[in-house]
């Protein structure tokens, strides 16, 4: 698997404790969002739930598997929301106007992200973008199903990849 070094070398070594604290805070925020109450019992159960969730998340996604930079992802959010609106409009047009071209097919798209968490996140986000649904990989190269193979899908995906490389830090190894 030859991946572009620029995608992996940016992974700074995250200490286990720092990751655990960040995630624990995120889960506690989620709890407060679900149950906006400051009663003592509610807070205690909330802390217990966050600790449990953090423990499970550290086992499922150890810090070495890569991370998201939430701030940068948030900055990209308007772009992706707009793109997914375009995706919906695109599909709606093709569904409702019989005259529009429909040339479905597969394209392969070599990506810089190594396999693992970062690439799966990229694939999930791009599935919501216009014209492409990720469909697994062949020999380590991503395959996309396109609704219109005459449109420049691969170039579009590469553009998104460059944007997302800022927010997604690939891990050192699989998983």
């Amino acid at each position: 698997m030859n991946s572009d070094p620029s995608f992996t070398s940016t992974a700074r070594p995250e200490s286990l404790l720092a990751t655990a604290l960040w995630r624990g805070m995120a889960f506690f925020l989620l709890w407060m969002l679900l149950m906006p109450s400051l009663k003592r019992g509610d807070l205690v159960v909330g802390v217990l739930a966050s600790v449990g969730a953090t423990w499970v998340s550290l086992r499922l996604l150890p810090p070495s598997s890569g991370c998201l930079r939430f701030g940068r992802l948030l900055a990209l959010l308007p772009h992706f929301v707009w793109e997914s609106v375009l995706a919906g409009v695109d599909v709606a047009r093709r569904a409702l106007l019989p005259g529009l071209p429909l040339r479905p097919g597969f394209v392969t798209c070599p990506l810089g992200f190594p396999p693992g968490f970062a690439r799966n996140t990229f694939a999930t986000i791009t599935t919501l973008l216009p014209g492409s649904v990720a469909a697994g990989e062949v020999d380590g190269v991503m395959v996309y199903h396109c609704i219109d193979t005459s449109s420049p899908v691969v170039e579009q995906l590469w553009k998104e990849e460059r944007l997302l490389a800022r927010a997604l830090v690939a891990g050192r190894h699989h998983g």
């Binding site: 889960f27 739930a49 499970v56 396999p115």
Partner: protein, 313 residues
């Protein structure tokens, strides 16, 4: 407007039930049944039973669907022989006549229900303050009809023992279910890594809020069990061997705590499962916290089925 919605829902539910009964292939029928469960959730909302809607969403839409679809795909090869054994036309007509009679009789009963309807709601409201919980359903489940809930937990345990006892002799004490291959680049793996922590927070929230608002241990435990199953389906964790003593202790911890509280009630308050004055909420919480892990484990393990592999696998 609400009538249109209700009529549409009723029509859709009937159509899907017909499909689940008559569809040619079992997987297609099961998918219909999953959709049916989802629409039933909406019906429960329309009938003002939010607690029931939550249960249906978690169990009807989630766990039952997984259980049945798995079985339908595995048993696909047996369908053609079964189709050949279809009962004769006269049997089918007889069955149709019987079913129509039952439906007719029930419909007449529904239309002849007494007015005003008998209800226990005022009694529940008058006595709920004693239990110190805010959700009347939880008060019924753990105070007014606590015996039902205790027996239910025991029924669940017996069902699990029944499932386990179907194990072939060589696999007794081993791990339930088939070994799942991990697939590190697949999407199931991705979801099974990202979703469970969120599901844990949500499941514990649904459990905890049940004291005062719709929710409770069954719904919360179902969510937790579903997350556990997701992780096992992706091959990220294996099911524990059923001979482990920690597992068996956890499985009986809930009912034992329940019975212990009941006995305490018998001594201090004069009747089995009655709570001494002022301690109702504390004791209800003790039961809830003890039942939660038990229910999660039972609901997850019962879905995995009988042990099929030795411990080492």
């Amino acid at each position: 407007m609400i009538e249109i919605l209700n009529f549409g829902l009723a029509a859709l539910i009937l159509g899907l039930a017909v499909w689940a009964v008559v569809a040619r292939e079992a997987p297609a029928a099961v998918v219909g049944f999953i959709v049916y469960g989802l629409l039933l959730t909406l019906v429960w909302l329309q009938l003002q039973g939010i607690d029931v809607a939550l249960t249906e969403a978690a169990i009807g839409g989630g766990l039952t669907g997984v259980l049945l679809i798995n079985a339908a795909v595995r048993l696909r090869s047996t369908e053609s022989t079964a189709r050949a054994q279809r009962p004769s036309a006269s049997t089918r007509w007889l069955a149709a006549a019987l079913s129509a009679t039952v439906t007719g009789a029930l419909a007449i009963c529904v239309l002849a229900l007494p007015e005003p309807a008998p209800t226990l709601a005022p009694e529940v409201l008058a006595n709920i303050a004693v239990t110190e919980v805010g959700n009347p359903i939880t008060a019924v489940l753990l105070a007014f009809r606590a015996m039902d809930t205790l027996l239910e937990a025991i029924v669940l345990l017996f069902a699990l023992i029944g499932v386990w006892s179907l194990a072939p002799d060589r696999a007794w004490g081993g791990r339930p279910g088939l070994l799942q291959q991990a697939d590190p680049n697949g999407m199931l793996d991705y979801v099974a890594r990202v979703l469970p922590p969120i599901g844990i927070v949500a499941g514990i929230y649904i459990f905890w809020i049940g004291a005062d608002y719709p929710g409770g241990k069954f719904q919360g435990a179902t969510l937790l069990a579903a997350m556990w199953l997701l992780v096992m389906m992706a091959g990220l964790a294996d099911a524990p061997p059923i001979s482990r003593s920690w597992l068996r202790w956890l499985l009986v911890a809930g009912p034992l705590a329940f019975i212990a509280v009941g006995v305490v009630g018998a001594v201090t308050a004069g009747a089995f499962l009655s709570y001494p004055h002022g301690f109702a909420k504390t004791l209800i919480l003790v039961i809830e916290f003890a039942l939660m892990p038990t229910l999660t484990l039972i609901l997850g393990l019962i879905l995995l089925g009988a042990p099929l592999r030795g411990e080492a696998a």
